[in-house]
Symmetry: C2
Subunit: 557 residues, 2 copies
C-alpha cells in the first residue's frame, strides 16, 4: 500500500528513500534537469529527474517514482513540502495522459467553462479546491453522525423506492413490472421519520438522499442530501439547543467557531425589515416604514425605504430590473442633499444610527405592502452582491420563528400550508380557525437561516388525530383523498403516536456557504448541470425498447 | 427534553422524583393497584398506579407519568430496571391506542404473520429485538465510517439518478421530462468509484444505496445498502488487510472478537470440497472424490461423497428434493455397516479423521463433475439447516481467491465474466487468451465469505486501455457498444487512470448473520415483502394520468 504521500514530505524526511505515486501537475526543463510537480491526494512535491527525455511523461500522467528526499535550493513557501524535493532514481509511467482539455488549476476551482469541467469531471476533481470540497463534505457528515450518536440518536435508512404522494414539487417516478404501478423517489423522508416516532425510536436522524423533479433553475439539483432529524417528547427549545450545539460542535474541528445560542427573529419582523424570510444579518441597511409620512407624496398606500451608505447610480439598471421583477411599483433613489427638509429629518435618524456620512435613500412605494417589502428586500440582497457588504468569513445563524400557518395564494384565492400539513397550530391562535381568519393562525414551525440562505425548516408535528383531520379539512382534502394519500400514516395516530418534532437541513447549501462556492455543483462529486443533465455520463439517456417493454411502457411521440 | 429513561432506572435512583414518557407494553390489575410495564427506547420499567381506572390506559398508548422511584417487593431479574418501580403520582394519556392487531413481543421479533407485521411496521418496530437490530445497524455503519476516516479514506456520495448501462440484472428506470430519456438507479457505484480513482481521490468509501430490479426470491430486496470501497496504488494483500482490520475493529465494540488475518481458500478447492464458492467452514463433512474407485460401480464418470455423523432417513424426501433441484443424478445414502469392505476402507479414513463413530455416507454420482459437486454441496448446506451443525455465535470469515475470469454458459455456449468486465487478468494465465482456453484464464478477484454467505466481492481493476479493449473484444462487445455504454468511463483511461482495486460488501447480509435473523427484512426499517411490495404504504401504487402525461408516458393495456 502507498504509505508515503509526496505533499506531506518535509525537512524531517531529509535523505529518506521514498516511493511516490501521483500525477504530473506541471513540468519544466532546465538544462539537463526535468522538474516535475507531482500531485497526489496530499498535495504537491517537486521531483528532479536528470537526463530524462521521455515523451510519455506528459502532464496528468500517472507515475511511480523512487528517489531520495533532498533540500531545495530555494524553498517554495506556497507548498507544505516546499523545503524539499525528491531526486528521482527510478520512475515508471503507470498511465500516460493525452493532452488534457482544460488547465487544471492547483489552487482554486477552475475558471474553465463549466460544461467541459463537468464532461471531464474526473479531471476537474483533480483540482485542489475540488478535492478539498469533497474532503470537507466527508468530514462534516462524519462529525454530524458522531454528534447525533453521542446524543443518543440513531441513523435509520428509509426507503428510496417509496410511495408517490404528490404535493408541491413533482415526484420522480419509478416504473415497476407490476404494470401501471410505480414507486416514487422521496422528496423527503417526512412520513417515514414520523412513523419511526410512532415506532418508539424517539431520537432519529439520517443523512438522506432526496429528489425533486422541479423546474430547473440556475442552482437546483434533481437529487440532493438532507440531514433529517426527528425526536419525540421534546419541544422547540430542545430542538433549537440540539441543532445549535450540533452546528457548533460539528464546525469547530473544521475551523469555524460558532456562538450559541443563535438569535431568534420573528417572521414578521424579518419580512418588515429584510423583505424576506431568510435575512442576511451580516450587514445592515434595514428596511423602514415611512407610509404615514410619505404615502401622500407618492400616492401609494405603502412607502418603505433603505438608507444606504454610497451612491448606486452606476448600477441603476440592474437595481431597477430586480425591483420590477419583484413587483415593485415605484422606485426612487435619492441623494440625501436632494431630499426635502422633512424627508431629511426622517432619514437622518437612521443614517446617524448606522453612522452613514453621505446617505443615499432607496424608496419603494407600492399599493401592496408585501410587494413594497419584497421588492426592496430583493434590492438589499442585490446590493450585497454588488458591493460585498457582508464578511464572507462570518457565519450568521438565525432562527426565524412565529410563522403563519397558511399562505394565501392571491391568484387561486386559497390558503395552503406555509410549512406542511403536519405542523401544529399555535394554541393561542386556534380561535382564528373558528372565525375564518386563517391569515392570523400561527404555526409551531421554525426555519434556520445562515447568511441569507434557508438552511433548514422544521416544526412541532400534530399527533392528535382530530387536529390532523381538522387540518386536512381546512385544506380541502377530502376524506377519500386523505385515506388514499396518507392512510398509512394516519393509521399511526390511532396507536399511540407520541408528541414529536423535527427539522431537516440542506447539506449542499451549508457546504456552499462554508466553501464560499459560486455554485452548488462545486460541492457535489458528480452533479447534473443547470439543465438537469449529467454531462459526464450523458444521463438521462435513451433506453432500449426491450427495457420499456419490461415495464409495459410507451413513450408518446 | 426527555432526560430520564425508564429502562435505565436502577437502585441508584431510589426515591428520585422522575418524569417518564413511553408506551404501555403490558398492564395488570391487582386489588386497588394497576401495574403497567412502561416501554421506551431504553427498555421497560414497572409503574404502580393506585385507585386508577381509566379506559384510555390501553396497551400501546403513549403516556407521560410523574412519580417516585421505589424498591420492588420482588425484583424482576429479566429487566435492567427490575429492582425498582415508579409509584405514579400524576399521569397523562398523550395518545390512547386502539386494540393492536398483533401481540408485541418484548423479547424477540414477533411470531405474528409477517404480512400484518409489515402492514403495521410502526408497531412491529416497537419490539425490543427490532429496535435492537436498528440500533446495531446504526452502530455498525458509524464504526465503519470512523474506521475508514481514520485510515485516510473519504466518503463520497455518488449519484442515484444515473445512467442506464444494462448488464446482469435489470436497471430500475426513472422517466424524465425530456421525452424518451431516462435516468437509471445504480446497481452499484462501480464506474463512479473508478472515476474517483481517475480523479485522484486515492481512498474512497461509501455506504451506498443500490437497486436491482431482479426477479424476486424469498430474501431479495429491490433496494439495499452496500459498503463500497476503492483504493489506488494498492494490491490484493493491502485491501485484504484493510478489510480484515475493518471487520475486526468495527465488530469488536459490538461484542464480536474476530481473528485476523482471515484464512484464504482457493476457488477450486472450495468447489471441490464444499460444492459452492461460499463455503461455511464452521462445520466439517467435506466432499471427497471417489471417482477413481467407484465410477465403475455407479456407471457415472464422477462419484463424490460426504461422510456424515448421523442417519438422515427421516429427512430423505427433502434431501432428495434438494439434490434433484441441483441437477443431481444419482444419490445413495448408506449406513456404514451396509457398505462393502472396499467402500468401508475408503470412507473409514474420513470417518476416523472427523472422529465419527457411526458414519453415514451420502454419495452423489454424476456424469457432470460440476453437478456432482453442486448437488452434494446443496445437501451439505441443507444438513446444517436440518441439524444445526454450525455454532450460530461463531463468525468464520474466509477469502475465496484464484477465481476463473470467465464463466461458461452451457446453454448459450458463450463465456461471460465471472466477476465483471473491469477485472484484471492473472498475468500467468494471459497466455490462454491466445490459445482460446478461456476456462483456464484466472482473474485478480476475490470474495469475502462469512458463514456460508457471500459478504462481498472485489477485484484488481484494469487500468491499461489496451487490456480493457481486449476484454470487451473477448466478450463480443462491439466498438460502438463500448462507446455508447462505457464511453464516459473509457475516456478516463486516456488521462492517467491509476492502478486501483476495490470491493463492496452487502450490509443487510452482514447484519442478518450478526443478529441471527431469519429474514433480511428484520434488519431493514421499512422493507418490501417477498413480492416487492411495501405493505405499509402500499407502494408501488397507481399514479395519476397527469403525472404520466408530464413524462409523456403511456402504460400499455
Amino acid at each position: 500500500m502507498k504509505t508515503t504521500y509526496g505533499g506531506n514530505l518535509t525537512i524531517k524526511n531529509l535523505n529518506e528513500e521514498v516511493t511516490l505515486y501521483g500525477w504530473i501537475a506541471n513540468k519544466r526543463k532546465f538544462k539537463q534537469q526535468l522538474f516535475i510537480d507531482l500531485r497526489d491526494s496530499s498535495g504537491i512535491v517537486q521531483l528532479v529527474l536528470t537526463n530524462v527525455s521521455d515523451p510519455l511523461l506528459t502532464k496528468e500522467s500517472c507515475i511511480k517514482v523512487k528517489g531520495k528526499v533532498q533540500k531545495r535550493l530555494e524553498a517554495n513557501r506556497e507548498l507544505k513540502s516546499g523545503e524539499v524535493e525528491v531526486l528521482v532514481e527510478e520512475y515508471e509511467v503507470l498511465n500516460s495522459s493525452k493532452q488534457i482539455p482544460f488547465e487544471i488549476n492547483n489552487k482554486n476551482s477552475a475558471t474553465a467553462n463549466e460544461d467541459i469541467r463537468l464532461e471531464y469531471r474526473f479531471l476537474d476533481l483533480r483540482q485542489e479546491k475540488m478535492l478539498e470540497n469533497l474532503r470537507l463534505r466527508h468530514k462534516l457528515l462524519l462529525n454530524v453522525r458522531q454528534y447525533f450518536d453521542k446524543n443518543g440518536f440513531i441513523e435509520v435508512e428509509t426507503p428510496i423506492l417509496a410511495k408517490s404522494t404528490p404535493e408541491g414539487a413533482r415526484d420522480y417516478l419509478v416504473p415497476t413490472r407490476r404494470k401501471g404501478r410505480f414507486f416514487a423517489l422521496p422528496q423527503s423522508p417526512q412520513l417515514f421519520k414520523q412513523l419511526l416516532m410512532a415506532a418508539g425510536v424517539e431520537k432519529y436522524f439520517q443523512v438522506a438522499r432526496v429528489f425533486r423533479d422541479e423546474d430547473l433553475r440556475k442552482d437546483r439539483q434533481p437529487e440532493f442530501t438532507q440531514l433529517d432529524i426527528e425526536m419525540s417528547f421534546g419541544g422547540q427549545e430542545e430542538i433549537f439547543a440540539l441543532c445549535e450545539n450540533m452546528w457548533s460542535e460539528v464546525l469547530k474541528p473544521l475551523g469555524w467557531n460558532i456562538k450559541t445560542p443563535f438569535p431568534k427573529m420573528d417572521f414578521f419582523y424579518s419580512m418588515e425589515h429584510y423583505g424576506n424570510d431568510k435575512p442576511d444579518t451580516r450587514y445592515g441597511f434595514l428596511i423602514e416604514d415611512y407610509s404615514k409620512e410619505l404615502s401622500t407624496k407618492y400616492n401609494k398606500k405603502f412607502v418603505k425605504a433603505i438608507v444606504f451608505d454610497r451612491q448606486v447610480q452606476e448600477n441603476f439598471a440592474i437595481i431597477n430590473e430586480t425591483f420590477k421583477k419583484n413587483n415593485g411599483q415605484h422606485l426612487d433613489i435619492v441623494e440625501f442633499d436632494k431630499l426635502s427638509d422633512t424627508e431629511k429629518a426622517l432619514f437622518k435618524v437612521v443614517a446617524d444610527k448606522e453612522k452613514i456620512n453621505t446617505p443615499y435613500v432607496l424608496i419603494s412605494a407600492n399599493d401592496d405592502e408585501d410587494d413594497a417589502l419584497k421588492s426592496l428586500g430583493a434590492i438589499r440582497t442585490l446590493l450585497n452582491d454588488l458591493y460585498q457588504l457582508a464578511d464572507p468569513n462570518q457565519l450568521n445563524f438565525l432562527w426565524i420563528v412565529n410563522w403563519p400557518m397558511f399562505e394565501y395564494d392571491k391568484e387561486t384565492k386559497t390558503y395552503a400550508p406555509a410549512h406542511h400539513a403536519f405542523t401544529q397550530f399555535e394554541e393561542s391562535t386556534v380561535k382564528y380557525l373558528e372565525t375564518g381568519e386563517l391569515n392570523k393562525v400561527r404555526a409551531k414551525s421554525y426555519d434556520l437561516v445562515l447568511n441569507g440562505f434557508e438552511l433548514g425548516s422544521g416544526s412541532i408535528r400534530i399527533y392528535d388525530p382530530k387536529v390532523q383531520k381538522k387540518m386536512f379539512d381546512i385544506l380541502g382534502i377530502s376524506e377519500k383523498e386523505q385515506q388514499s394519500r396518507f392512510g398509512f400514516f394516519l393509521k399511526s395516530f390511532d396507536y399511540g403516536l407520541p408528541p414529536h418534532n423535527g427539522i431537516a437541513f440542506g447539506i449542499e447549501r451549508v457546504l456552499m456557504i462554508l466553501t464560499q462556492s459560486q455554485s452548488i455543483r462545486d460541492v457535489i462529486a458528480f452533479p447534473k448541470n443547470a439543465k438537469g443533465v449529467d454531462l459526464l455520463t450523458s444521463a438521462p439517456s435513451d433506453v432500449t425498447k426491450e427495457q420499456l417493454d419490461e415495464y409495459g411502457l410507451e413513450v408518446r411521440k
